[in-house]
């Protein structure tokens, strides 16, 4: 578990007290907005289109039932009865009043949560595979490394004022579910000759200038990784562009220097570190932190479950859900359950207070008290016995959380867009909901198979439109919303950027256009086993583009 030690507790308590004073001065008018803005941003408070928004960190997307219950309480008492889970594995409350935020932060501190490092030009929350510690295909549990990075970077004096925000992601599975190649630094845990180490990718990112990360070092042994990261951060701190906000991310530095020169500089910085200043992370320390993440004591089970099999036969809807929303667990007789926050007609990633309480309860009763937030804006119960899956499904379905659509076309990543966001050019939620309607029939959706649609309301790309198999980007043309469609992006180990295929569409034309593209795929695929993205890569974008613009 994330160790929130006494040191953290005191710091966070001091932060809350300090912010309470700042808010009081702001409300009295003695602090101007210009003075207050940097202070509120350091505490996760944004001013959006209609209200303040509070962003709360969920380190590596992991929550306890007590924490999720507390978030439910905050949603009920201070928001409008719901919260919004984001692709950064955080939660945002869209309606909290500034005057209440110090109280909310104090309540969060009671369950060891805070909003530190959710904004500002620092190293943000390190994200990872949402199945970490459970996934059959992982080498080891990557959360320990997220925690080591968190401890190293939190309040690190050298890195509190970077040229720009900095995001790190870690994976330990061959299939990358943490989108490491579109992060400032992506770490892929590897083993070589019995030594654990990291493949280091630098300079990926989305936003207005999307870039796929560069492989900077294929193997940095674990003892040296923090020193290597320090070298990366130092080169960035020194040469990253502070003169232009749009050129300040590390991806621009890597692109401007060129891959070879950038790598040379990092290696030179790393080589120049004096022994005395090296961290040289001791093995005992790594082991100590790994011990926090010891797997739960799962009761022994046999490989298959009669209860589970019988329930599938009895209920086709349950059977369909098991085909989409379960992920193989490393322990026999267990599975990881994805709780879809993408039922039809609901803003993707939103959960009500009572839904949060249902998930917290299921986690306590069946799930060893472990809950995750995925970057696809869903919740995960990572350790559920197959025997219990039918009961878990029944409870989820009764709470409106039984959608069988994990990684399917209606499981979209969608940013808040112009319904909430002050930077938006266009709405993204209503367009996503209209597209969902086309694919509302679960049998049709299952036949289409895995397909990621990602939607952003402006070029900042919070909705990951660059790496959706189909991306939708909202733009504003003279006061009217238009949507550009991108094809061919992906965020996994074969990361690629989508390509804008042509002129923007009006909102009402988007669902039909997507439908034509999907139908074209179904007609062209060699078999239902060939996924949308594979057919697209096999045939190239042109025929899909033709289908997209075919008169509807």
């Amino acid at each position: 578990m994330y160790r929130y030690d006494q040191f953290d507790a005191r710091l966070v308590a001091e932060r809350v007290a300090q912010f309470r004073g700042q808010v009081a001065r702001r409300l009295a008018g003695t602090l101007t907005e210009d003075e207050f803005k940097p202070l509120r941003l350091q505490n996760g408070v944004y001013l959006q289109l209609h209200a303040y928004m509070l962003r709360i960190a969920i380190p590596y997307g992991q929550l306890s039932p007590a924490q999720l219950r507390r978030l439910a309480e905050i949603a009920r008492d201070y928001d409008r009865g719901f919260g919004h889970f984001t692709t950064r594995q955080n939660i945002q409350f869209n309606w909290v009043a500034l005057k209440d935020i110090p109280d909310v932060l104090a309540k969060l501190a009671e369950v060891e949560m805070h909003a530190v490092q959710t904004s500002g030009n620092c190293i943000r929350n390190t994200t990872t595979d949402h199945f970490a510690g459970a996934a059959q295909d992982e080498l080891l549990d990557p959360r320990a490394w997220c925690e080591i990075i968190r401890q190293w970077s939190t309040f690190h004096p050298e890195f509190a004022f970077l040229p720009r925000k900095f995001k790190i992601a870690v994976t330990a599975a061959e299939h990358d579910r943490a989108a490491i190649r579109v992060h400032d630094v992506g770490l892929h845990i590897r083993q070589k000759d019995g030594v654990t180490g990291f493949e280091v990718w630098v300079g990926g990112g989305q936003g207005r200038t999307p870039v796929i990360a560069t492989l900077v070092n294929p193997f940095v042994p674990e003892a040296q990784i923090l020193d290597y990261l320090e070298a990366i951060m130092r080169v960035y701190n020194r040469f990253g562009r502070r003169d232009n906000k749009y050129k300040a991310r590390i991806k621009i530095l890597v692109t401007e220097l060129g891959e070879a020169e950038y790598i040379r500089q990092v290696e030179a910085e790393f080589a120049a570190q004096r022994d005395a200043e090296k961290i040289n992370l001791p093995k005992a320390e790594v082991d100590r932190i790994h011990a926090y993440f010891a797997p739960p004591a799962l009761a022994a089970k046999s490989e298959s479950s009669k209860l589970f099999e019988a329930a599938k036969v009895a209920d086709p809807a349950f059977a369909r859900w098991t085909r989409t929303n379960l992920h193989p667990h490393k322990v026999a007789g267990y599975t990881s359950v994805t709780v879809s926050l993408k039922p039809l007609g609901v803003a993707p990633g939103d959960a009500t207070d009572s839904q949060m309480e249902v998930v917290a309860g299921l986690s306590e009763k069946y799930g060893y008290g472990d809950i995750r937030v995925s970057h696809a804006q869903n919740l995960i119960l990572p350790h559920i016995a197959l025997d219990d899956v039918p009961d878990v499904y029944k409870a989820l379905d009764a709470a409106g959380l039984g959608a069988a659509n994990e990684s399917r076309i209606t499981d979209m990543i969608v940013c808040p867009g112009l319904d909430f966001c002050n930077l938006a050019n266009a709405r993204s939620i209503p367009v996503a909901l209209e597209v969902q309607k086309v694919f509302a029939d679960p049998a049709y959706e299952e036949d289409i198979g895995k397909l990621h649609i990602n939607v952003s309301g402006c070029i900042n790309a919070c909705g990951h439109h660059h790496v959706g198999h189909i991306g939708i980007l909202g733009v504003d043309k003279k006061g009217e919303e238009f949507y550009q469609i991108l094809l061919g992006g992906r965020a996994d180990e074969k990361a690629a950027l989508g390509e804008i295929v042509g002129p923007g569409l009006k909102a009402e034309d988007v669902p039909g256009a997507i439908h034509r593209v999907v139908e074209f795929y179904r007609a062209q695929r060699t078999s239902p086993a060939e996924k949308f993205i594979d057919t697209l890569e096999r045939l190239g974008h042109q025929p899909f583009q033709d289908a997209l613009y075919a008169a509807g």
């Binding site: 702001r26 008018g29 907005e33 719901f82 319904d419 909430f420 002050n422 003279k478």
Partner: protein
């Protein structure tokens, strides 16, 4: 602030808008000098009067945050380059399930 603030000519009709410092809700300045959350009650100003109203608003830090001019028609309807965004600000917004 982050959004684009179009330069408006002195004679262009405009409203003064910003956010409630306490709650963050969108506010518009009414003719009587009070702040309202109801955009249909916004006051339309122009010329020196508009400048004076904005200058006074900028001094009300504890009440209104980041006040600025927004373009409206003479009868107070939202118009101009930022009209999409301003229309969204003036509307009731999505609650859970997409309802307003």
């Amino acid at each position: 602030m982050t959004s684009v603030r179009p330069k408006l000519k002195p004679e262009t009709p405009k409203a003064v808008t910003g956010w409630s410092t306490a709650t963050g809700r969108s506010l518009w300045l009414a003719v009587d000098g009070s702040w309202t959350e109801d955009a249909s009650r916004l006051g339309v100003f122009a010329g020196d009067e508009a400048e004076a109203r904005l200058a006074a608003s900028l001094k009300q830090e504890g009440i209104v945050t980041d006040p600025y001019f927004m373009e409206v028609t003479a009868d107070g309807r939202i118009t101009g380059r930022e009209s999409l965004r301003e229309t969204m600000r003036a509307q009731p917004v999505l609650a859970y399930g997409g309802a307003a």
